[in-house]
């Protein structure tokens, strides 16, 4: 699949944003962090900025962004619609929580209710995003049991890494456990992605040129001529191909830069004092984000669509 920048940025930013949002909301609900203007501005501000930026970025690839409001109508069948609904629904508790947390000092109960609602909304939204891909049967690389865990784990890992950086910067005591949680989430992401890639490398797609054409009864099927000598929308959208050795290299980069290094840096941050701790924490967060971008790029680039079986692909 064509790795469209807007979609990659959207999923990474919103994943990280919702991860950050959910972390802060949960901490607030638990009372682990107390309302504060600077933390509110920085923490919730960053989370909402990422989420909103991501969502806006996602409308960039629409043919008719001005009609985007129509996308909320099909929540009964469409995960994309559900994602929109969930995102918007999450704004309510999240906005309120951010507002109260930053500028007022709401009671514990309010924080708990809003925090839990916000966290639930954030997770639900990321889940919807993941389900958009998980539900696409023509794309073997997406329509499998690893897609949802992958999105959740990466959202959590990048979100927690960001949360750790924010909290560490403010010297909030919760930073420690959050840092440990971030390392755990990064480890989980590492495990999920490894499992995902081994699945991709070993489990072939159900569809083949033979099943796509029904001509397997004659023998092995090869494309002789595509319908048109030129390109078309489908080929541009779905015909993206990445060489094996490229993919392997990028997988390694994503894992090292996006998981191993950030985890190590978080550990460094936990073990050191400011300003080094903050520096390491922010570097970890940025690396995690960068790694997630590479991972997401690969998530598209490595995905093959059954349509390409009609254009000469030997497998889907």
């Amino acid at each position: 699949m064509h790795p469209a920048l807007s979609v990659i940025v959207f999923t990474v930013a919103s994943g990280a944003g919702y991860g950050l949002l959910a972390t802060l909301a949960l901490l607030a609900a638990l009372g682990t962090i107390a309302p504060s203007l600077p933390l509110g501005l920085a923490g919730f501000g960053l989370a909402l900025a990422l989420v909103t930026g991501g969502l806006l970025s996602s409308t960039l690839h629409l043919g008719h962004p001005e009609r985007a409001w129509r996308a909320f109508s099909q929540w009964r069948t469409s995960w994309l619609s559900r994602e929109g609904v969930a995102a918007v629904a999450t704004y309510l508790p999240a906005g309120l929580l951010a507002l109260l947390f930053t500028f007022f000092a709401p009671g514990r109960a309010t924080l708990a209710i809003l925090g839990l609602l916000t966290a639930a909304g954030a997770v639900a939204t990321v889940l919807c995003t993941a389900m958009i891909y998980r539900s696409l049967k023509p794309i073997h690389a997406w329509c499998n049991q690893w897609t949802v865990p992958g999105y959740l784990a990466l959202g959590a890992a990048t979100g927690l890494a960001l949360a750790f950086a924010v909290l560490a910067a403010f010297g909030v005591p919760a930073a420690g456990p959050v840092g440990i949680a971030a390392i755990a989430a990064l480890a989980a992401a590492w495990w999920v992605k490894r499992a995902y890639w081994s699945f991709l490398d070993t489990v072939p797609a159900a569809s083949t040129p033979e099943s796509a054409t029904g001509l397997g009864r004659i023998g092995k099927v090869r494309l002789l001529d595509p319908p048109h000598t030129g390109a078309n929308y489908l080929a541009r959208e779905m015909g993206f191909r990445i060489a094996r050795k490229h993919a392997t290299k990028l997988r390694a980069i994503a894992m090292v830069a996006g998981v191993v290094l950030p985890a190590a840096l978080v550990a460094v941050a936990l073990a050191t004092t400011q300003p080094l701790a903050s520096l390491a924490a922010w570097l970890a967060a940025l690396l995690a984000l960068a790694g997630a971008l590479v991972e997401r790029w690969l998530f598209f680039a490595e995905a093959k669509h059954t349509t390409m079986l009609y254009y000469g692909a030997a497998s889907a």
């Binding site: 023509p138 929308y233 059954t306």
Partner: protein, 241 residues
């Protein structure tokens, strides 16, 4: 609107791969009809330049199956199959993509489509065509503005691709009616679904190429010890009858 009710009729195409010569007539006539029809226009980008590409609802591929002489070249037209389980419809966030209850035709409403392209990802068959100029998704309409068109003679109310196909390799009808001509063809010729494993339950069916007919073994030539003389004698005998 969630999903749809099982359609009353299942209108669709049956494509005979044993007869299709890959001439692209159906594809071009489809383009011609539809560029001024329900989905007008079927935009072409860079039409006279190096990167010409356009919106087409029907495209003709050709494949080779098997090896050498034992194999076969098969021309393979591909358009929307008007699936009974059209994920292209269910993934659509706006409802612009829908399947009609009365005949099962899958359509896109260009006035509400936001151009998110998700339906094209959801279609395994590559049957959705994005119009980059108009920012909306387009697709085969099963010539909805022909098959019900009361301004054209009744006998001609079939999809453009069907009426134009010079090899009569395309058939149109109600595949929900077991007694219809198309259903009969499918039953007789072993019509099949593309990628049945994905469970989209396409309405359109493909008829497989018939097996070839290898040369029969030569008949033993008549014993002809006398060679040319014998042959000429035979001619004389035959003629003097």
């Amino acid at each position: 609107m969630t999903g749809y009710v099982t359609p009353r009729r299942r209108l669709g195409l049956v494509i005979d791969l044993d007869t299709c010569v890959g001439c692209h007539a159906c594809a071009v006539n489809c383009k011609e009809w539809n560029t001024g029809g329900h989905s007008a226009p079927l935009t072409d980008l860079d039409p006279y330049g190096p990167a010409a590409s356009g919106v087409w609802f029907n495209r003709i591929h050709s494949f080779e199956a098997g090896e050498g002489r034992a194999g076969r070249t098969v021309n393979f037209p591909r358009s929307c199959l008007h699936c009974d389980e059209p994920a292209c419809v269910t993934v659509c966030p706006t409802g612009a993509s829908y399947k009609r209850e009365e005949d099962g035709i899958v359509l896109v409403n260009p006035d509400t489509c936001i151009g998110c392209k998700l339906c094209s990802w959801a279609c395994p068959y590559g049957a959705r065509e994005y119009d980059e100029d108009e920012g909306v998704m387009k697709k085969c309409t099963l010539c909805i503005d022909r098959i019900y068109n009361e301004t054209i003679p009744e006998a001609e109310r079939v999809p453009a691709c069907v009426s134009t196909c010079p090899a009569h390799a395309r058939h149109f009808g109600d595949l929900g009616d077991p007694a219809s001509e198309v259903s009969r063809l499918v039953a007789e010729r072993g019509g099949y679904d593309l990628m049945p494993e994905l469970g989209y339950r396409p309405v359109n069916k493909y008829l497989p190429p018939r097996p070839g007919r290898p040369a029969p073994p030569p008949q033993p030539a008549e014993p002809d010890a006398e060679g040319l003389t014998g042959f000429l004698g035979w001619v004389d005998r035959m003629l003097s009858r």
